[in-house]
Symmetry: C2
Subunit: 222 residues, 2 copies
């Protein structure tokens, strides 16, 4: 369902070339759960943002559901993301002026699957309860702890019932107990609902429990 071929992303700082991704070949099978581990700065977030159509590669190709992604066709990228992808950002990227429940509802307006306001609100509340935040619905991001913001970002990624979830260090700000419940949630979405998941994590033990683990170093798969 996700495949990359020779995927590369280079940055030029003056004369120096930074290889964030260097000819990466990887594949996520239908219903697969892949964890990506590697040192800080090794290219994990870059891999996720390129697969997630949020950033264009310098070279190489990405195939989603067998179709090659055309990064020049901005409209198609927006539609792909809306219908198909859920993204949990490493730095959350919540909308500061919206409450927790509004942040989770927000993607639902564009998807037009749930037709009424009350349906969308009920779905958002259910998602926030799944990540343990039922008591924080009306808080703004600035009125929430780091781990609570991270969990809103996770709930929001699930808002449109995506086929592919790209989660960038979804437990980085969570204690082990809360982190485990999030991982259990992801595992359940994968095993019971067949969602494809690519998760970046620094927690190698948890990664091994979830499925296949690929390692990346200096932009290259090991």
């Amino acid at each position: 369902t996700v495949e990359t071929k020779e995927l590369s992303k280079y940055y030029w700082m003056g004369n120096e070339k930074v290889a964030a991704l260097d000819a990466v070949d990887m594949k996520v099978e239908e219903g697969g759960f892949i964890s990506v581990v590697g040192p800080s700065g090794s290219g994990k977030s870059t891999l996720l943002t390129v697969i997630g159509c949020l950033d264009a590669p310098t070279a190489g190709e990405v195939y989603l559901n067998g179709t090659r992604v055309d990064y020049r066709d901005k409209k198609s990228l927006v539609l792909l993301r809306r219908k198909f992808l859920g993204f949990v950002f490493q730095t959350f990227n919540l909308i500061p002026a919206m409450t927790a429940v509004e942040n989770v509802e927000y993607p639902m307006y564009f998807n037009k699957v749930l037709k009424t306001k009350s349906e969308r609100r009920a779905h958002a509340r259910k998602l926030l309860a799944m990540v343990g935040l039922e008591k924080r619905l009306e808080h703004l991001p600035s009125e929430l702890s780091g781990g609570e913001q991270q969990r809103i970002a996770i709930a929001r990624a699930l808002a449109n019932d995506p086929k592919l979830i790209l989660a960038d260090e979804p437990t980085g700000n969570l204690d082990s107990g809360t982190g485990k419940s999030i991982l259990d949630l992801l595992k359940r979405l994968n095993e019971e609902e067949g969602k494809n998941i690519v998760m970046v994590t620094h927690d190698l033990e948890s990664a091994k429990r979830m499925g296949k683990v690929i390692r990346i170093m200096d932009g290259r798969i090991q």
Copy 2:
């Protein structure tokens, strides 16, 4: 060197009261290293920001070096922080328009200890090398990975050679190898330079290795 008495911080959301801190008594001895652990939302960041004079408590007192902190005297708070404290934020809080090395130099202007530009730049470069970022000096925060931004935040907290370091989950975005080098750095600053450290972490194993561990839950010390 740090002491809190009945320290409390309450928020009112409509009629509901959120107790972020509830009558917290704690003490950091001279040259102490204290780790604070607890579930997401339990009050750890609130404890650090109040001790760090960045936020006023609702009730109770904070003593730094035996002197009670007066939260109404804004000027004294600024001076205290500048001379005495180094703060690593959970969400980094880097200045987006400044490069890595500029972000680390920035606090040094106000402290007036290093008198020349070249002294400040040399010190900033040394601090960034200590956190493994000598090759990223000229990158903006947006041109850096999450863990690299976190490490700039750590280097910046050390810029004015503070007596008290307050580190909010300083390894949350780091792989175990890089995280260990950061913890070794903090341990060395504590043991060889006598710096006082209060570190919030979700990594209980590392916390135990560093020194005393206090647990917080629902705003209360266990």
